[in-house]
Symmetry: C3
Subunit: 264 residues, 3 copies
Amino acid sequence: MNRQPIITLTTDFGTADGYVGAVRGVILSICPQAVIVDITHEIPPQDVAHAAFSLHSAARYYPPGTIHLAVVDPGVGTDRRHICVTSGDQVFIGPDNGLFSPFMGEDATVIELAENEFWLEAISLTFHGRDIFGPVAAHLGCGVEPGKLGPEIQDPVLLASWKNVIRPGRLEGAIVHIDHFGNCMTSFTPDQIESMGPFSIWMPGNGSAPESGIIRNTYADVDLGEACWLVGSVGLVELAVNGGNAEQTFGIERGDPVMIESKE
Amino acid sequence: MNRQPIITLTTDFGTADGYVGAVRGVILSICPQAVIVDITHEIPPQDVAHAAFSLHSAARYYPPGTIHLAVVDPGVGTDRRHICVTSGDQVFIGPDNGLFSPFMGEDATVIELAENEFWLEAISLTFHGRDIFGPVAAHLGCGVEPGKLGPEIQDPVLLASWKNVIRPGRLEGAIVHIDHFGNCMTSFTPDQIESMGPFSIWMPGNGSAPESGIIRNTYADVDLGEACWLVGSVGLVELAVNGGNAEQTFGIERGDPVMIESKE
Amino acid sequence: MNRQPIITLTTDFGTADGYVGAVRGVILSICPQAVIVDITHEIPPQDVAHAAFSLHSAARYYPPGTIHLAVVDPGVGTDRRHICVTSGDQVFIGPDNGLFSPFMGEDATVIELAENEFWLEAISLTFHGRDIFGPVAAHLGCGVEPGKLGPEIQDPVLLASWKNVIRPGRLEGAIVHIDHFGNCMTSFTPDQIESMGPFSIWMPGNGSAPESGIIRNTYADVDLGEACWLVGSVGLVELAVNGGNAEQTFGIERGDPVMIESKE
């Protein structure tokens, strides 16, 4: 049998109202065989960068052909574009506001959603998740080719990305994401650090966050309540507190600088 | 292939315990091919009117034949009736306490769930979602006709509904729902207002809520932090604050009066 | 047609990040026909006993063959074992930390997950739900026999269980679970109490919790705001406040003693 199409949802709608329920209904009305899977509906309101990171950390685990619908959309009702991004073997649908930046590699194709035959008939100006993006995702799930949705575009909006600054014996990066456990992810991969030999990692401008020469493998490598730098589950070096909350303990915010210096 | 039956869930159970999980298990045990879809489990505890509105705003987007299971049930274990409502091309299962008022139009048929062969064998007095409503929804999903569930009744409980008062050059309505963003929905549709020509809308008895002669199309039509009256996504005129919370900003409660006066 | 395999999820991950979404993706990549059903993702962080109770109260309602994936895992990355438990007609996958104690009856078979061909290739040390337990559950769902996953073991970790102390004319038990409504479940079943004839139930050491000689059937048997002992929906005697929160009202904690004395 043909596999049922998978459509994931990532939004900042919360789950207290019927909004997500309406989107699910729209999708099932157009494509009854769709399997709808939640990534999260609790993105901090209008935090596009947080959504991009969460989606990036989950999407890679989905099967080829998965359609990812993401709606964190501060510009709803303005003239920001609606887009469909094909990247690797997956497809992304949502507003053109940088949400899909992690998937905008060289192999990505971006289409502007222009053909309103794939939308609901009545389009509100405040709920495009239900009226435009949900219907388009459902039509894709049921076999419509992305090329039918509108023209290709070359200038999608991209989030400013954290580019580590590489200096002799030194890497300058930043905190790029904080999860709801308060774990603070940096822009560094373990590989980058290993290549340096003996090193020290710390947060300039934050006197309370610990300086260390060791990247741990798991929380339980340190005592309960103790902080450590470790390799997190998304493949980045992160600052965490075993059984605690590093964000609150050290007063860390996204964008705070992180420094690594070679000790050789 | 036959479409899989869709059963939606709307409750005030929250998601922190295994209660919703038990309902899902009961449904899948009776009707393994059911597709279970959440509308919301975060209705404010025992707030039947809030549930009725949330269900109404989502149900219309579901395919014909969808079964909507809703359990907000302050009277569980008393002699309040259990009902099945057939309305349009959809079916609703739950307690007879007004929850399905929006669907009680002239074409609605209401059946009292009386045949306990479609219930679990052991019936608790505090969890009818699991023991009665879930099993009945599952049996309907797998082909039982509503007429087999019990006798038709003519006197279902109805919520008092907001009826706008129409006076010469004047409409008197109310706030009928507040969502978790703090958007305050009125009992007015845009059509009703447009038919008046030039007008003014305001909340008598609330000096801080703004008076206006314009209904906006989207939040972004006003500056960040500014309030506006606009056409909301459920098709009603609502009071909102762009990037903010109108309920908290103006101290609004459900039932507060809203007035529209013609300025011709 | 063959029934689609059902895989339930019980975790303390919360739903604010993409973690649960990643687990769902892993499962669907390995076993696309799996039906993934949430029990809850809001177990209090690292509270293994709370998770065991929640899973126990929901699992019994699932069809034969259901696979229950549960991850509340304070020891992730240490040498605690990964296990698969076959109990009755259901299967459980997760860490060997007592999480599955309620299912460790005489008919249970416990296997240590040792065959890493059923895991993801890259195993993080902090997210075994995604890298080990999710993949194993998916392989089971798609037909792998539990016996292929590793060797049988005889000494799974068990939670200390509440054993009521039976004395002449007296039962000594405890509060074993508190749900998010604040209902406080005891270690007593209604049967145990009925067999005593006239009785009194109270909480020694808690002067504010009520003493009573009656077990109620439903919340509505007492006035709004009034406390009562009643038969809860999981089949245990519990202390509740109609329309209120018994945990907060009386300052109750899990493990607090509860006493029943015969009055004959």
